[in-house]
């Protein structure tokens, strides 16, 4: 049994939890090594006090679960059965306290589980799992690093294809083609390629806007590889850009660098945001930086910690998050420079290595 699962049993002992059910696919993967998207079917990892843990999966996933997971016992249900009634066979007949993920189970799942489990008390385990996952192990960091390497290689291979009049969407297609060719399972979120003033909206959609000289091009994308994600943004100049745009770029770059500088165990999470924000405000662009400076990532693209100006809590070794200050002026341009970092024992390791000095694309 791995350390992570042992930790769950310890937790059950300490909190008098009789049965613990984990259903969120990434959480299941974290403990069992088995990753699947069961869609509407029911899937879970179940720990019963004093017994071996088991995976409970749709029949069509059973073979895969047996071959990849570290869990010895696999039970399954087929489409013609009521999954909850099948699950009941493997649960103790009397349950005092049942632990589950309140923020993952839908109301429908929750009611169906309670109907068969008949527990007297529900214990929420969302925070426990969040807390366990927030500090990444060396193995996880290695996987994240591989995802980042592919992302950067795809960007490198895409840049020469960017020519005058190519559309945002065509660049997206090229990026995603490259990441798959390099072995990624797919993009970790909808790739963003935004040109000129379109990048002035932090959440614009790539479309048939063609790129022109004298403006910025913002590229924000990432990949999924072996269950782990990356999330990288770089902003490029298309040909020569004016001094006003260069000043915006320099300001964002300074904000990015200074925010990275303060990262180490024990620093307040809010301080990372406030550091970047101060740089941007001092240059008079405060009104154009209206979102948080970063977010945790790992198996999911948005994980804890959320790195914003009012975040409580301190940085811990193994936390992985993005640092992505930006200036978004909807009438002019948008610049964002995003890195992926991990908090190390005494500081920070910047996992993304793609150059950050303003690069002028020769189109």
């Amino acid at each position: 049994m791995n350390n992570r699962i042992e930790k769950l049993y310890d937790y059950m002992d300490q909190n008098s939890v009789d049965v613990l059910l984990i259903t969120q696919p990434q959480n299941v993967y974290y403990f069992t090594g088995f990753l699947t998207d069961p869609h509407e079917r029911f899937m879970g990892f179940v720990l019963v006090k004093g017994e071996d843990p088991f995976l409970f999966v749709p029949l069509l996933d059973a073979e895969n679960a047996e071959s990849v997971s570290s869990v010895g016992k696999i039970y399954s249900h087929d489409d013609a059965e009521n999954a909850y009634e099948v699950l009941q066979r493997y649960l103790p007949s009397s349950i005092q306290c049942f632990g589950l993920e309140k923020n993952h189970l839908t109301v429908k799942n929750y009611e169906s589980i309670l109907a068969v489990a008949g527990a007297d008390e529900i214990h929420e385990i969302d925070e426990l799992l969040q807390d366990m996952r927030i500090s990444k192990s060396q193995g996880e960091i290695t996987k994240i690093k591989k995802a980042i390497d592919i992302t950067e290689e795809a960007l490198r291979l895409t840049l020469p294809k960017i020519k005058l009049n190519i559309t945002e969407m065509e660049i997206v297609a090229e990026l995603e083609y490259q990441i798959k060719k390099l072995g990624a399972e797919g993009p970790s979120f909808s790739s963003l390629v935004l040109a000129g003033e379109k990048a002035g909206h932090p959440h614009g959609n790539p479309g048939d806007r063609k790129i022109k000289t004298g403006e910025f091009l913002l590229i924000d994308f990432g990949v999924v590889l072996d269950g782990y994600v990356s999330d990288l943004t770089r902003t490029f100049a298309i040909g020569e850009v004016n001094d006003q745009l260069k000043d915006i770029y320099d300001t964002v770059l300074q904000a990015n660098l200074q925010a990275i500088e303060v990262v180490k165990p024990g620093t307040s999470i809010a301080n990372v945001d406030l550091t970047a924000r101060a740089v941007i405000e001092n240059k008079g662009y405060g009104q154009y930086f209206i979102n948080r400076v970063g977010h945790g990532f790992g198996m999911e693209i948005h994980e804890h910690p959320s790195v914003h100006s009012k975040a409580s809590g301190l940085l811990r070794e193994g936390m992985t998050f993005t640092i992505e200050p930006g200036i978004y002026n909807p009438k002019l341009a948008g610049v964002r420079i995003e890195d992926n970092v991990v908090v190390t024992k005494d500081g920070v390791d910047v996992l993304s290595t793609f150059p950050k000095e303003l690069q002028m694309l020769d189109v």
């Binding site: 869609h39 489409d79 923020n103 839908t106 109301v107 969302d126 065509e170 090229e174 083609y177 959440h203």
Partner: protein, 355 residues
């Protein structure tokens, strides 16, 4: 507005005087909003869309029949949304129990005055009957898939890998205006054809193999889903025979698609024909499924089907034969049920193509 009124007309049956919409596809269906954060509330007299600061401007442009209200951010969601709802005078507010997590439900339940009533599949049922505009979008999505198929025939040759074919298809669909691929593209060549869900691998295409290509586009939110099996060089006699059986099963099934036919009966047309030819053991799970905003939706065309087809429904028809150790064939079209029969949305040729 028609959609909203259709929903309102169901309120009394559901025992509610308002519906809280949180499922992203259902939200899009009613509002046209393409952002990632926001909830909609529909009452007998009002339609309100709430979203955060990032999306307010976008929502104002995209949501025609809704009043747009801003909440600050994720942290204030559970304070500001209930405040708005509490001002609407709702007593029984339906919510989507297959979408809302128990954690979210608990927070809303504390702050919303109205009784929260669990509902299931209300909007999903409305969504089975497509509007004229939706059918146009599904046609456009199917057209992209057809064009991409035509293109890929020039690309496939012995020596390329399944992944290269999949990448080329996806890139082509995007160039044609798709926002993406509607699912992980299946490229199953040779023996891998026996895997109904054989997502593309690094396997190299060889002469004499058949290849099943199952893919589709997302166009303005709407899905297409097409399958063709083609041959690189001359196939074996057995594969050729299987192909003809699947084609006949598929054509017969499509011809039978019309209002009033039950999903089970439609499923059995291809199943029975394939069994008659001696391949009952190698037939797939179900003959088809509804498509629209999602890839898998009602009506499902399977032995467990529970619906009768009606005009405006759009389904795929995709019988197949999968023989481990030999290979597989599947042919799939997207079909809309019309008043008198059906119209096929995918037009790629179905006679066996030999490259």
């Amino acid at each position: 507005m028609d959609k909203i009124n259709q929903l309102r007309s169901q309120f009394s049956n559901l025992g509610i005087d308002g519906l809280f919409i949180t499922n992203p596809q259902n939200r899009f269906y009613f509002t046209g909003f393409t952002g990632t954060a926001g909830v909609a509330v529909i009452t007998p007299t009002e339609a309100i869309f709430l979203t955060d600061y990032r999306y307010v401007e976008q929502a104002k442009v995209q949501t025609k029949d809704f009043d747009v209200v801003k909440y600050q951010d994720r942290n204030s969601l559970y304070i500001e949304v209930p405040e708005v709802i509490n001002n609407l005078g709702i007593t029984k507010l339906g919510f989507e129990q297959e979408d809302m997590t128990y954690g979210v439900f608990s927070r809303y339940n504390e702050a919303i005055d109205a009784e929260l009533v669990p509902t299931s599949g209300v909007i999903e049922t409305l969504r089975t009957i497509k509007t004229t505009e939706e059918i146009e979008l599904l046609k456009a999505s199917a057209k992209i898939a057809d064009s991409a198929f035509k293109h890929i025939l020039d690309f496939i040759r012995p020596g390329v890998t399944e992944i290269e074919i999949s990448n080329e298809l996806e890139t082509r669909m995007r160039q044609l205006g798709a926002s993406g691929s509607s699912f992980d593209i299946i490229i199953a060549s040779g023996l891998r054809g026996a895997m109904p869900h054989g997502v593309a691998t690094q396997k190299v295409i060889e002469s004499g193999e058949m290849i099943t290509l199952d893919f589709g586009a997302i166009y303005k939110g709407y899905i297409s889903d097409i399958t063709r099996t083609i041959s690189v060089g001359t196939p074996s006699d057995e594969m050729r025979k299987i192909y003809d059986i699947v084609l006949e099963a598929q054509v017969r099934s499509v011809e039978a698609i019309k209002p009033g036919i039950h999903g089970k009966d439609l499923d059995s047309i291809s199943r029975d024909y394939i069994s008659e030819k001696g391949y009952s053991k190698y037939c797939g799970n179900s003959a088809g499924h509804g498509i629209g905003l999602s890839l898998w939706e009602e009506p499902f065309i399977s032995p467990k089907s529970s619906l009768t087809l009606q005009p405006g429904m759009v389904v795929t028809m995709e019988p197949g034969i999968y023989i481990p150790g030999v290979g597989g064939v599947r042919i799939e079209d997207d079909v809309v049920i019309t008043e008198n029969g059906n119209e096929i949305l995918t037009h790629s040729p179905k006679e066996l193509i030999k490259l």
